[in-house]
């Protein structure tokens, strides 16, 4: 078997008496979409924060392409090839759509930032940025102020900026949220192509999308992974049904 690009090994994180992450082990292999699902309060956000580097685990390790990155911060992990999108859009709202994408391309370049050269006239950066925007269908909105985008378009821009980073691993936190039927369907198609470029760890509440997209699904309940497997295995797993899928109808928002 090939090496996992992202390997989370026995992560534990407690807040007081609450075990938000209880010995979580998770792998992401090249070419796959691995979905992480779980009811509200299961500890998904805490887990993502530890993978992204904004929260230090109490125990356990995080490996990116075989390198131990447990002690590094979000900046170092982005530089090491982790491209993430946020549950709540995290963009420079006063800047144009293109400027946000160029910022990604600029970061991916990993060189000293120029102090005098006009960044928006750097053709290589512009090309990378426009390519990212084109792939999510935002290229015609490049000159728009980000604040003037619709909610769904901002979600797309999140993905576009992650694309400009040309990451080795994608970490996507609810990319479908608020997209609507047509938008979700387009994104599902897009992510299916994207996974061949870099595998995706997908946290998503849209169960239709998850079961359509995921090669593997891990179910997180009370900070513990209770099952990992192919969508069909997860669907029929009695423990999962009891803990999670039974209540899927009234599932809403963050976790």
């Amino acid at each position: 078997m090939t090496e996992p690009l992202l390997h989370i090994d026995g992560i534990c994180k407690s807040f007081g008496a609450l075990k938000a992450s209880d010995n979580v082990t998770l792998d992401l292999y090249p070419g796959e979409i691995h979905a992480l699902i779980g009811p509200n309060g299961a500890g998904k956000s805490t887990l993502i924060a530890q993978i992204a580097g904004s929260l230090v685990p109490d125990a356990g390790r995080v490996f990116l392409e075989g390198r131990d990155v447990t002690a590094t911060d979000t900046v170092a992990r982005a530089r090491a090839g982790l491209g993430r999108t946020f549950q709540i859009s995290s963009l420079a709202m006063e800047d144009t759509v293109l400027q946000n994408a160029v910022l990604g391309a600029l970061g991916a370049r990993q060189k000293r930032l120029g102090l005098f050269a006009r960044v928006m006239q750097d053709q290589a950066l512009r090309d990378t940025a426009m390519e990212g925007l084109r792939q999510v269908g935002l290229d015609e909105f490049a000159a728009l102020r980000t604040a003037d985008l619709s909610h769904g378009q901002r979600r797309q821009l999140e993905v576009a900026v992650a694309l400009t980073l040309n990451p080795h691993v994608f970490l996507m936190d609810e990319p479908m949220a608020g997209l609507g039927g047509e938008g979700s369907a387009l994104l599902v198609t897009f992510l299916q192509q994207l996974k061949t470029r870099a595998p995706i760890l997908l946290v998503e509440h849209d169960m239709d999308a998850v079961f359509q997209l995921a090669d593997r699904i891990s179910v997180l309940v009370y900070g513990r992974i209770i099952a990992t497997g192919a969508p069909d295995e997860i669907r029929t797993n009695p423990e999962v049904r009891e803990a999670y899928l039974g209540e899927v109808d009234d599932e809403e928002g963050g976790g």
């Binding site: 170092a76 006063e94 160029v102 930032l113 900026v161």
Partner: protein
């Protein structure tokens, strides 16, 4: 920058040139001195605007750099006047009245101060950052007050204005020319920085720090660099201000000075290239016109500031040029 803002900037730049030239022809040295003061204070504001407007760093300590620049000029000139070297061991350092040398010292000293104080202050944010920069400024203020070697509370006089090769700095219009050119250079530098990759990332970090981290750029380093460049420009303004008044005093370090520099930026328009120029010009104009009517003219300034903050967030420039911000 929109077309209209470019036009306004051109008018401001030309106006700041035409007024003293007119005054020179009509033998009105006081007007020249006033416009020189506008240029110098605008320069101080241009420095702060880089940190405040582009970086979102609300520094209430920029008087520190203004004062350091001023005292660099004052101390070097006082040693040159008394022929007593600054130090004799391990090597002799003489005072000087050469402006270029004084500027170099002012730039270096304020850059160093900005590096040290910035490295510490930028570990905090929001109101804590404001308080820490204020505290650093006050440290310098009280230090100069209690430092008898250089005049303490009474300050230091520069009996003859420092020299610039090839110019007679005692002629008001020639000294004005120096400040005008330096302001122009600073505006050019800041304009280029604002459009650079560094500027894009710095401005993005002001809007959304998480985003900048997620693309692998560390906001702290951006802000520190911006703070140093910002402090250096304000430091240069301080050296010129000392030569304008031929006098330096601890007042240059006071928090009121920091506040005034911030008022120029806010009045003129935060993050607008020519905001500090418009702000400083308006400030000096008000000081002259209203100051002639009443000693308590600051109350009118206060009302104006309130109106700007409440109704015209883009300041004077924003009011005239509108929102338009281009993307190159």
């Amino acid at each position: 920058m929109g077309r209209r803002e470019f036009l306004i900037n051109t008018v401001l730049a030309l106006g700041l040139l035409v007024v003293p030239l007119w005054a020179h022809v009509n033998d009105q040295p006081y007007i020249i001195t006033l416009t020189t003061k506008v240029a110098i204070l605008a320069l101080a504001g241009v420095g702060l605007n880089l940190a405040l407007g582009l970086g979102g760093l609300v520094s209430l300590g920029h008087a520190m750099f203004f004062g350091i620049g001023g005292y660099a000029a004052g101390i070097l000139a006082s040693h040159a006047q008394s022929y007593a070297p600054l130090m004799e061991w391990p090597f002799t350092v003489e005072g000087t009245q050469s402006m270029p040398v004084i500027w170099m010292v002012a730039l270096f000293a304020s850059a160093l101060a900005a590096l040290v104080t910035g490295a510490l202050s930028l570990r905090t944010s929001g109101v804590y950052f404001i308080m820490i920069t204020l505290a650093f400024g006050q440290m310098f203020f009280y230090f100069t007050i209690s430092w008898p070697a250089y005049g303490g509370e009474d300050g230091l006089s520069i009996y003859v204005r420092d020299h610039f090769p090839g110019l007679n700095t005692l002629v008001p219009i020639q000294f004005f020319a120096i400040t005008y050119v330096l302001l122009g250079i600073a505006l050019f530098v800041v304009a280029r920085i604002a459009r650079s990759g560094f500027g894009l990332a710095l401005n993005a970090a002001r809007q959304n720090e998480t985003r900048v981290r997620a693309v692998g750029i560390e906001p702290y380093r951006l802000r520190l660099a911006a703070f140093v460049i910002s402090g250096t420009i304000t430091g240069l303004a301080g050296a010129l201000f000392a030569d304008l008044n031929r006098f330096v005093s601890p007042t240059m370090f006071s928090w009121q000075t920091s506040g005034e520099i911030m008022v120029f930026v806010i009045l003129g328009g935060v993050a607008r290239l020519f905001g500090p120029v418009a702000g400083a010009a308006l400030f000096i104009l008000l000081e002259e016109v209203l100051g002639g009517l009443s000693d308590y003219w600051h109350i009118y300034l206060g009302v104006l500031l309130l109106v700007v903050v409440l109704f015209a967030r883009g300041g004077l420039i924003g009011l005239l040029a509108g929102e338009g911000k281009g993307d190159d």
